[in-house]
């Protein structure tokens, strides 16, 4: 009964339903995109009606929201934050800078593509994306979760070596343990 395939489906459905309606967001306000987060959360656009609320620490968070460009110095902190999060976890790349570097594409101290360093579930493009597009990105993530396709942590674990190689190319003084979650 418990190992029955159909009953597992029901459990999965309930778990995914609650996961998608309760997203604790760790908003990593790196770039200029951080200014859009208060607008998304407060009374005009009110992201809490979808169950999206801010989390105070990475341990409690489900979604890592990278808002904007990542300097090579902050990449290290982002990796630490990402690895401290508990599975299942999701990453949203926010703004053009996380997709291809955006207006900083030829800068000497920013990274260009976020998915070289940590896996990304949903990208929201725009410079800056307005709160409507942020919410639509979250809705897209909710669809992925309901279908069971958001397997960010699993992808990271399976391709850890590739991600580590890329990360160590950027971070010269790597003083973190290789496995810290």
């Amino acid at each position: 009964m418990i190992n029955d395939k159909d009953s597992q489906k029901i459990v999965d459905y309930i778990q995914n339903f609650s996961r998608k309606h309760s997203l604790f967001v760790m908003a990593y306000g790196t770039g200029c995109g951080a200014i859009e987060i208060p607008a998304t959360m407060t009374s005009r656009y009110d992201a809490e009606r979808f169950g999206i609320r801010g989390a105070a620490t990475p341990r409690q968070a489900d979604v890592l929201l990278i808002t904007g460009y990542l300097a090579t110095k902050t990449l290290k902190r982002v990796i630490r934050v990402y690895e401290q999060m508990q599975e299942p976890k999701y990453v949203i790349g926010f703004g053009s800078c996380t997709i291809n570097g955006g207006m900083y594409y030829d800068s000497y101290n920013t990274i260009n593509a976020l998915e070289q360093y940590i896996p990304v579930d949903v990208y929201i493009n725009g410079c800056m994306p307005r709160p409507e597009s942020v919410i639509s990105g979250f809705i897209k993530l909710q669809e992925l979760i309901q279908q069971g396709k958001a397997d960010n942590g699993k992808r990271y674990r399976e391709n850890l070596e590739w991600y580590r190689t890329n990360q160590k190319k950027i971070i010269k003084n790597w003083k973190m343990p290789d496995y810290n979650w």
Partner: protein
């Protein structure tokens, strides 16, 4: 044996009810807060969704034995105290382990969960947790004084330390203790502002400042268990206040099923009204600093408690 079975069934029923009511109240408060801030807000069952999500997290990290068991201490303390609180007046469906002196026992036991939490948070090694724990314990020193003064006033006034007896006195005389000793009620009400940790006394959690304080290293199932314990605990505090000051709910002379349901209805109305006091106060207040909070509790609330004690003696 049948009696024992009924008691165990009643204990499980009490726990489930406390959990469901506490969680739903939390959800309703989130919804109301959103409406006050001109938002649409999450549905009232949002807390249940959060709990299912937290319990279905796949990985959980622990930082040693106390960190691993801290949420369990909170649950243990909550359920233990719940077993000593009469939910309905003299009802067989919700039995309790009432004895002469349980009011004093509860005073001690209510701190137990927080102490377990403090030890667990200390072991995680997060500096935010340590600051949160010191703030929490300092604030407890603040609000425990008016709270204890209020309870001592009741004990002195009626020469009893049993919650059941105090409820019986209210039932027989027909006067609620809020009218017999209004100053004690006011002192206890001010203390409840600190107990519920809404603004301006949310200095322990302090989301923007301390990163949720003692909870900062607890995620997933640990956080979910803490949420459960906290919900049960908020129901306990509300029911204790209703039992002591607002005449309790239910009638010991009628213990049929309809009388029980009516009693639960009355209990829900009274507890929800009482719960709105710290919530309303929180909506219009910013956060205090720790020393301001302690000064607040040692000011008028303590004075009211002392007046209540004098009122009780004379």
């Amino acid at each position: 044996m049948e009696d024992l079975g009924l008691k165990i069934f009643g204990a499980i029923l009490t726990t489930i009810m406390a959990f469901a009511v506490g969680m739903t109240y939390g959800g309703i408060v989130r919804k109301l807060t959103a409406r006050v801030q001109n938002r649409f807000g999450p549905p009232f069952y949002q807390n249940f969704l959060d709990l299912v999500k937290l319990q279905s997290k796949k990985t959980n990290i622990a930082h040693g034995f106390m960190g691993h068991t801290a949420p369990v201490w909170i649950i243990i303390a909550s359920i233990t105290v719940l077993m000593f609180i009469p939910i309905l007046n003299g009802n067989l469906w919700f039995p309790n382990l009432n004895f002469h002196g349980d009011l004093i026992f509860i005073l001690y036991m209510m701190v137990f969960g927080s102490l377990g939490m403090a030890l667990g948070a200390g072991q995680t090694g997060n500096p935010n947790s340590a600051i949160g724990v010191t703030r929490g314990l300092s604030m407890m020193v603040g609000y425990e004084i008016p709270f204890v003064l209020a309870l001592v006033a009741l004990m002195v006034q009626y020469h009893t330390t049993s919650i059941q007896d105090l409820m019986q006195i209210q039932h027989e005389s027909g006067t609620w203790l809020i009218f017999s000793n209004p100053f004690a009620f006011l002192a206890a009400l001010f203390a409840s502002l600190g107990m519920f940790r809404y603004s301006p006394f949310d200095i322990v959690g302090a989301p923007a400042e301390l990163a949720s304080g003692p909870m900062s290293e607890f995620g997933g199932k640990y956080l979910g268990t803490m949420m459960t314990g906290g919900s049960i605990f908020s129901f306990i505090k509300l029911t204790l206040y209703v039992d002591l000051f607002l005449g309790g709910a239910g009638n010991p002379d009628h213990i049929g099923i309809w009388a029980t349901l009516a009693g639960i209805g009355v209990l829900l109305i009274k507890t929800f009204t009482l719960y709105m006091v710290p919530v309303f106060y929180g909506w219009v207040s910013p956060r205090y600093r720790t020393e301001q909070a302690i000064r607040y509790f040692w000011g008028w609330p303590t004075a009211l408690g002392i007046i209540g004690l004098i009122w009780a003696v004379y």
